[in-house]
């Protein structure tokens, strides 16, 4: 999809463009537009990272165990809540004993994906996750991390045995299957997040376009009817904005849940 340049892209390019352009040229990559070497989705991503760092540094100084504020209580719900879907709940349930030490990367990725998903609700921003490279980066981080966690838990030989299946004679058959299924996780994590965000944007655009077409047709027919139909483009796409909110939270949850499952599979003891 063609995107119009966003203001955040302009700002980041003016701030960092002079620094990034020679770097890219030195690496042999030639950006399409030398005046804007940083694409918009990367700019939005950087903005989110910057915002998160500032916010959480400020927030950290206000945390207290004796007298938690409203914001702190809200964020504690992310870790553990009554529905048992917080990050600690997932880790305890799936990874089991000692699972809480994997919170750092999984929680970071989950929160990052969540903020990337919901930022398109603010006019002027486009979700970075609607561009395929951003989910791919998150999926790569998760992929490397759970393999690293597996190697650290079992050692290279012990972790390699996971790929050979339950009994040794089946190993030549199980090895390609396991390798494919593990690399397919990268694909499925990437495509799921990317397509979901693209689809919820497309749905909104499609219904906005439909109601605009209706408005034009009504305006051609009769000016009074057209004036009355002007409300349609304002109301018709609204449910899809709500759907986008729902999908954004759900996909962020899924992007937290699946890494937990993968880490749990990688560090699980043999039975």
């Amino acid at each position: 999809m063609e995107h119009h340049p966003t203001w955040i892209g302009n700002v980041v390019n003016q701030l960092l463009g002079w620094l990034v352009l020679p770097l890219l040229e030195a690496l042999g990559a030639h950006p399409h537009d030398p005046a804007r070497p940083i694409p918009d989705h990367i700019a939005t991503e950087l903005f989110i990272v910057f915002l998160c760092i500032v916010f959480f540094l400020w927030f950290r100084s206000r945390l207290s165990a004796d007298n938690p504020g409203a914001l702190q209580l809200c964020f504690e719900q992310l870790l553990s809540n009554d529905f048992r879907v917080g990050i600690y709940d997932l880790l305890d349930e799936i990874v089991g004993h000692g699972g809480r030490k994997y919170l750092a990367l999984i929680g970071t990725v989950g929160l990052f994906v969540l903020f990337c998903n919901v930022i398109s609700l603010i006019p002027g921003f486009v979700s970075p996750t609607a561009h395929h490279t951003v989910p791919l980066g998150c999926a790569l981080a998760v992929f490397l991390y759970y393999n690293y966690a597996g190697v650290r838990a079992h050692g290279p030989g012990g972790y390699g045995k996971h790929f050979l299946g339950p009994v040794l004679p089946l190993a030549p058959l199980m090895l390609p299957i396991e390798l494919i299924s593990h690399t397919a996780r990268l694909l499925s994590l990437t495509v799921r997040l990317w397509v979901n965000m693209v689809v919820s944007e497309l749905l909104y655009l499609t219904f906005l376009g439909l109601s605009l077409t209706m408005l034009y047709a009504a305006w051609e027919l009769n000016k009074v009817l057209g004036g009355a139909a002007a409300i349609a483009p304002l109301i018709v796409p609204l449910p899809f904005v709500l759907l986008h909110v729902f999908v954004a939270f759900l996909q962020a949850f899924v992007f937290t849940l699946l890494p937990v499952v993968y880490v749990g599979g990688a560090v699980a003891e043999e039975h």
Binding site: F83, R84, V85, D89, L90, E93, I94, L170, L173, P176, I177, I180, S188, V191, R192, W194, V195, N196, V198, V199, F253, V254, L257, L258, V261
Partner: protein, 106 residues
């Protein structure tokens, strides 16, 4: 059962070796006749994928509801299994959509 799994795995490996050929073909624009068929088959592919995905998700949800009604105490475990299953089923339809999205050029 295991033999089928192996067969599917080998076919997948064959496909992964055939990828460079496919990538070369994707660079050129298809002729008009082919583009028309891409559009038509994309519609059918998406319809079939959505239909089967809906059926599968309905089965999973129905089973989860039954389980919840019989044993409300097991709600967290059932909810977790349900979400995981729904996500994995849904991604199959999304693969189809990704291919449609990438192949239909107008």
């Amino acid at each position: 059962m295991k033999r089928y799994v192996v067969l599917v795995g080998l076919t997948l490996m064959l496909f992964s070796f055939a990828l460079p050929v496919a990538a070369q073909a994707a660079d050129q624009k298809p002729p008009d006749q082919v583009a028309m068929w891409i559009v038509i088959t994309s519609g059918f592919a998406m319809a079939i994928a959505s239909a089967m995905c809906g059926l599968a998700q309905a089965k999973a949800t129905a089973a989860a509801c039954e389980g919840l009604a019989r044993n409300p105490g097991a709600a967290p475990a059932i909810r977790f299994a349900l979400i995981l299953a729904l996500v994995l089923i849904e991604s199959l339809a999304l693969y189809t959509f990704a291919i449609v999205f990438l192949k239909v050029t107008y």
